[in-house]
Amino acid sequence: MHSSIGQVVIYVIPAMVLAWFGWLAWRDRRDPANAGRQGFVARNGWPVAGFLVIAVGFWTIFMIVLPLFSMIDLSFRPKLPPPQWGGPKDFYTLDNYRYFLFGSTTSTAAWNVTHLTAFALTILTSIAITALDFVICYPIAYYMAKVARPNRLRLMMLMLIAPYWVNEILRAFAFRILFSSQGIINNVLMASGLIDQPVDFLAADVALYAGLAYAYLLMMMFALYNALDTLDGNLIEAARDLGAPWWHIHAFIAIPHAKPGIASGSTLVFMLTAGSLAAPLVLGGPRSLWFTPIVYDRFYQAFNWQQGAAYALILLVACVVFVLGVLRLFKLGLAEIAR
């Protein structure tokens, strides 16, 4: 293993986080506003309190904090054979990030065009797919939340959820079959005489976009449904009574009300789409380059974990920036989308 500042940081930061939580709890207890209230332990008993502390602590430290920090640490190191780890050649470097921008030191091109394009396309396509999912989901979610009767609602929920009982990779293959040159869609189009040559949907990335849009549709659907479900029907009627046409009600009553749901749905769909692996691997055409397969290749084809870590972090940072941007756009706090 490495032995350097990085290693220290990895173990010191969780300890600091724990200390901070402890301090918060201590301050909370001292707060005069909480005087006379029973403490959490007294209210729920030792077993519950102990389980919570251990479970949450284990989860944050071993599932989130430690892996993330060792990823960050790894991403700033050069690729070395294990015997040299911690040796004189193991020092912090920006090489992996440099590679993302400019390619290998021996290449003649000014920029690492393949990876940069794939990254930009992944981000832009994910934004487009998030928008597409919103457009698809909003009318359905509105119908389910405000129009459908209970029986119809149950049926629609079932029809929406049932396909997701199937594994993600199998679902991607189902799309591949649908869109293949001998697939149902081509057959229908040919039979109806609209085309006389099968269209190569896979090469044109139509299948990829469709598959990606479908993959995380439910996240958007239920985020919107939950938000719209809390919209008081009287507000809709009041707007109509004041003369509002239907689009005005959606634009100025329903959508503003659903803002937190739209924000949480969009961030979820965007993050999952940008980070999805199955659909790009199964549905991507021969030319298409999604960013996640590139990251995957760094790890398992090039066996360059350091570079893979750097690439994964770049994607993560892009996603976080997107989320913060969306929150800014909707003038929302982080806590509100988690409602």
Binding site: D232, N234, L235, E237, A238, A239, R240, D241, L242, G243, A244, P245, H248, F252, I253, P256, H257
Partner: protein
């Protein structure tokens, strides 16, 4: 003169359930008209029909003489104030008030002028930038009224707008509503199950029971000349004595009750032998010596209310009666347990058919 709102044999059914049954009435321009009835009698349904959210199963709604069939709620010259107000929480007070004008495409600066004028009208000047949840209950109430008035409707429809307020505020808002109506001069159609509210504010009242309009008239008429047993018992306090008409001659008739034959005004010209109810207001009854009055009873208690004292009695057959006394007589009320007689002037008692009366 064309009526502001006319209902022409309007019936509204939900499946096999009839919520409103054959309602016909005319409401004059500028009138303060109330629908009064117990919960579930179809008041809201009727109001939603006038505002266009519900299509009548039969009959026609006319507003300003115009047939409203096929005209949606966003096209009608009515504005509805909802039972829960339904103010838009995502907008400021001023934006709420002028929402209807924004829909109609009025420019922003002009809208803000209207908002200021209406904020003055509802006595909330300069509060247009507040959020809705920063307002008190009474202020929200007034904002809802201003929002409805902003679109200059011909008819303002109010669905129990005061029911969420506490008693003090409710009484204050009654006079305020009446004052606003006087100033804007448009037709108000007001729904309530509170007879005090209906009686104090309305020019005319329609009393409803189980989807049927029982009687339309001003408060005095409904109180003094009810046409059905439901109206007699629902509007104001009264004593109810059931029986059969024994003799009917001229204006008066005699009903055979558990207390013996009692006479009253035969308002509906009932024939002898028909089932009837005799209604006597508590203030029409007077206490007298036992044996002297038409009815005998035992005093069980009395409630002093300042200007009036309500005396409760039990008659020989166990039925309860109430007598209101005031002035000098209030100090002479015998102690509980005393036997008394009750007298009344027959023309102040009223005899009505008991058919269709299910609230006894």
């Amino acid at each position: 003169m064309t009526s502001a709102v006319a209902l022409d044999h309007v019936s509204i059914r939900f499946g096999s359930f009839t919520a409103v049954d054959d309602a016909s009435l005319d409401i004059a321009p500028g009138e303060f008209f109330s629908f009064l009835g117990p919960s579930g009698c179809g008041k809201t349904t009727l109001l939603r029909t006038i505002s266009g959210f519900v299509e009548p199963s039969e009959g026609v709604v006319r507003i300003d003489g115009k047939d409203m069939r096929g005209i949606g709620s966003n096209q009608r010259p009515t504005a509805l104030i909802f039972q829960n107000l339904a103010l838009f929480p995502m907008m400021s007070v001023a934006e709420n008030i002028v929402y209807g004008l924004r829909v109609r495409g009025m420019g922003k600066s002009e809208r803000m002028k209207v908002a200021d004028r209406l904020l003055d009208l509802i006595a909330l000047p300069g509060q247009g930038n507040k959020r809705i949840d920063e307002l008190s209950g009474g202020q929200k109430q007034r904002v809802a009224i201003a929002r409805a008035l902003a679109v200059e409707p011909k008819v303002l429809l109010l669905d129990e707008p005061l029911s969420a307020l506490d008693l003090k505020l409710r009484q204050h808002m009654r006079s305020e509503l009446k004052e606003i109506q006087r100033r804007v001069g448009i037709t108000f159609i007001y729904i309530t199950h509170d007879q005090g509210e209906a009686l104090t504010m309305s020019d005319r009242i329609a009393v409803m029971d189980r989807g049927v309009i029982q009687q339309i008239g001003d408060g005095r008429t409904l109180y003094n000349h009810p046409r059905t047993a439901f109206v007699a018992s629902f509007v104001g306090e009264t004593n109810i004595l059931a029986g059969k008409v024994a003799t009917a001659e001229g204006e008066l008739a005699e009903v055979a009750t558990a207390h013996g034959p009692l006479s009253g005004a035969n308002a509906r010209k009932l024939m002898s032998g028909s089932d009837a109810m005799l209604f006597i207001r508590p203030e029409s009854l007077r206490l007298t010596a036992p044996g002297a009055g038409a009815i005998r009873g035992t005093i069980v208690g009395s409630a002093f209310e300042g200007h009036v004292t309500h005396v409760s009695l039990v008659a020989a057959d166990g039925s309860k009666l109430t007598v209101s006394v005031n002035g000098e007589a209030a100090r002479l009320v015998p102690e509980p347990g005393a036997e008394v007689g009750l007298v009344y002037r027959p023309e102040e008692a009223i005899i009505l058919p008991s058919e269709g009366y299910a609230h006894a």
